[in-house]
């Protein structure tokens, strides 16, 4: 409703004209009352004057003053008085109509102003929703508009945290703790979230209904809470409460329900935006790591090729037979290195495939670790081992060999020799620890280092392609175990691998038989 009905305006003008207020362009109730007072005052005066005139006429009948028949005079005066009374009553009827029309007009004006105010508040809420993508800002703007329009003192938005609770994400006008949690079904918000029905509370509200409140300065007199639903999904609730000077009614609840719509839309939109942003960030991160991977692989391939080409070139020159043997060894060593790199890339790619299940069987982890340590010692990379004589785990021996090998290599790459390995059986599992003497792994990258292509040394002063630890995690998880890194006592990094000792599951056993 943007305009007053034309019909009322026309009738007001008509009645004003008929009631003798034609000079007033916008008659008011006060003017009507004044006019009515004037009319009745005039009527009374005229009646009195005419009455007195009749009396005087009767008293002086037959005197020199009045000649002829006195009843004619009396009848004339009475007719005059009656005529004026009819006139006054007719005016009074119009003034009464005008007065009622003006009251209607005032009510309509007030309703229209309220509606305009509400539309403006909703428009602002919508504007906030469209102009700000940050959810906190959107919710704050919408809360501010709702409080302003409804005359509320405090407001909050709570979102569904999980299947059992709501979390406060926006607060205005109170010290209600942000991030405070409310259980579904409990308190006002929890009850509304569960029933999905708006709730209006009039009268003093019990403090226990507002969890998170601390030493409130005012007494809440009235409160409203509406559910936030988007496409049939409950997202949270919107709360508004007022102090003693304000008492909400059903109409206010309806208005608040109108606000719930943009709030729910904002939350849904912000959720989508956040998910999209996280996805883009993930893609960019992945893209960056892949670029780094290509650089690392290219660099890693260049080094053995340089040695092989150098050896071939040197062998064509005048060299001793001993030198020739040495060069052949260089070629063999470096081609093996290339082969192992290709295998590493292949293993990392294979781990992406579904259904790539290792052959789980009972193996002696202690024996495998000693063997890996020996291989490392032979290659000039010392390893200290502390393990029981035998220690059975349920794993794929080839996977464990690679896990231990990669962790030893990693330890030597990032720390001084020797690398220390311990094998500790505990309840239902065995923990293998590979401890180096390096600078350790900062807490913020302890998860990242297990991602493919991630390198702690992006400038590439250390050799590697960023696949070693990703392969470790993939293989450990394929054996049903877990791997993590922590600070080693006394400095350095301690990579821990937990492998299970339990019985082999039927499915794994079958795979093993087939294999």
């Amino acid at each position: 409703m943007d305009q007053l009905p034309v019909e009322i305006s026309q009738r007001i003008r008509h009645e004003a004209r008929v009631a003798g207020l034609r000079e007033a362009r916008a008659p008011s109730i006060e003017m009507v009352e004044r006019r009515r007072m004037q009319l009745w005052f005039l009527t009374v005066v005229i009646v009195i004057v005419l009455g007195l005139a009749t009396l005087v006429a009767s008293w002086s009948a037959g005197t020199v003053l009045v000649t002829g028949e006195p009843w004619i005079l009396r009848a004339a005066v009475a007719a005059l008085g009656l005529g004026f009374c009819v006139y006054a009553v007719e005016k009074e009827i119009h003034l009464h109509r005008l007065s009622r029309l003006l009251v209607d007009e005032r009510i309509l004006n007030s309703a229209m102003a309220h509606r305009l105010q509400m539309n403006a508040a909703l428009f602002n809420a919508g504007k906030a929703l469209n102009s700000v993508l940050d959810l906190d800002d959107v919710l704050d703007a919408i809360l501010a508009n709702a409080l302003d329009l409804l005359g509320g003192a405090t407001g909050s938005v709570m979102l569904v945290e999980d299947e059992e609770s709501l979390r406060v994400v926006a607060v205005r006008g109170s010290r209600l703790a942000r991030d405070a949690k409310v259980k579904l079904g409990e308190s006002i918000a929890g009850r509304v979230a569960k029933s999905r029905e708006p709730l209006l509370i009039s009268g003093v509200v019990a403090p226990t209904d507002y969890p998170g409140y601390e030493d409130r300065e005012h007494t809440t007199a009235s409160a409203m809470c509406v559910p936030l639903v988007n496409r049939g999904q409950l997202l949270g609730v919107l709360n508004i409460s007022a102090y003693s000077e304000r008492d909400f009614d059903e109409h206010d609840l309806q208005v608040l329900s109108l606000f719930a719509e943009p709030v729910a839309a904002a939350i849904a939109k912000a959720g989508l935006y956040e998910a999209e942003r996280a996805h883009v960030a993930q893609l960019l991160d992945s893209d960056r790591m892949k670029t780094q991977f290509v650089a690392s692989v290219s660099h890693e391939l260049r080094t053995p090729i340089t040695s092989i080409r150098g050896a071939v070139s040197a062998s064509r020159r005048q060299i001793t037979p001993e030198q020739r043997v040495e060069l052949l060894e260089v070629i063999e060593r470096q081609s093996l290195r290339l082969q192992s790199m290709v295998e590493e890339i292949f293993t990392a790619a294979k781990m992406e495939e579904d259904g790539n299940r290792p052959l789980l069987r009972r193996i002696d982890l202690a024996a495998l670790v000693r063997l890996a340590a020996l291989d490392s010692q032979v290659a000039g990379r010392p390893v200290e081992v502390e393990a029981p004589t035998t220690c059975e785990v349920r794993a794929d021996p080839e996977a464990v060999r690679r896990i231990v090998g990669n962790l030893i290599e990693n330890g030597h790459k990032y720390g001084d020799a020797p690398v220390r390995i311990t094998v500790q059986p505990t309840e239902g599992q065995v923990v293998l620890s590979v401890v180096d003497h390096g600078a350790g792994v900062p807490a913020e990258v302890r998860e990242k280092i297990f991602e493919r292509f991630y390198r702690m040394d992006p400038n590439g002063t250390k050799p590697g392609m960023g696949l070693g630890l990703a392969i470790v995690r993939g293989l450990v998880e394929s054996c049903g175990g877990s791997v993590w890194v922590e600070d080693a006592p006394g400095g350095g990094a301690a990579f821990r691998v937990a492998l299970r000792t339990g019985a082999i599951e039927e499915s794994s056993r079958e795979v093993a038989h087939v294999g």
Binding site: T303, V330, T461
Partner: protein, 129 residues
């Protein structure tokens, strides 16, 4: 320049050191080896080689440090940077740090030998002038 030109090969990869040493020896140079930047600087101070074949990515002190250190000296050996880093940024950085040539791994050994000869000849020519 009298006798064989002395060339210090600096690389953390043992097989690169081994093959380059054989090639340079066969080509009439007097090669010496260093597997990190610190050893390289020490051998440069002690033995004053005519030329250094310098890798960039090395432990202890990397090739950038060695280059920067040599760039500040008035009498310094010729430097041929020999690295797997192939970007223009790395090449420009090395040239700004007064490297004489930049060869990217993997390289043709004969090409490296000719680059080494060219740098030595350029430097001896400049010294005579």
């Amino acid at each position: 320049m009298s006798g064989k030109p002395r060339v210090l090969i600096v690389d953390d990869e043992p097989d690169v050191l081994l093959t380059l040493r054989m090639i340079l020896e066969a080509e009439g140079f007097d090669p010496a080896l260093a597997a990190d930047g610190e050893t390289a600087l020490r051998r440069i101070d002690d033995e004053s080689p005519d030329l250094v074949v310098l890798d960039i990515m090395m432990p202890v002190l990397d090739g950038w440090f060695v280059l920067a250190e040599l760039a500040g000296r008035s009498h310094r050996p010729g430097v041929v940077v020999c690295s797997a880093k192939s970007s223009d940024t790395d090449r420009n950085r090395a040239m700004e740090l007064s490297a004489d040539e930049y060869v990217t791994k993997p390289f043709e050994p004969d090409h490296l030998v000719s680059v080494i000869r060219a740098v030595l000849s350029r430097r001896s020519g400049a010294a005579r002038v």
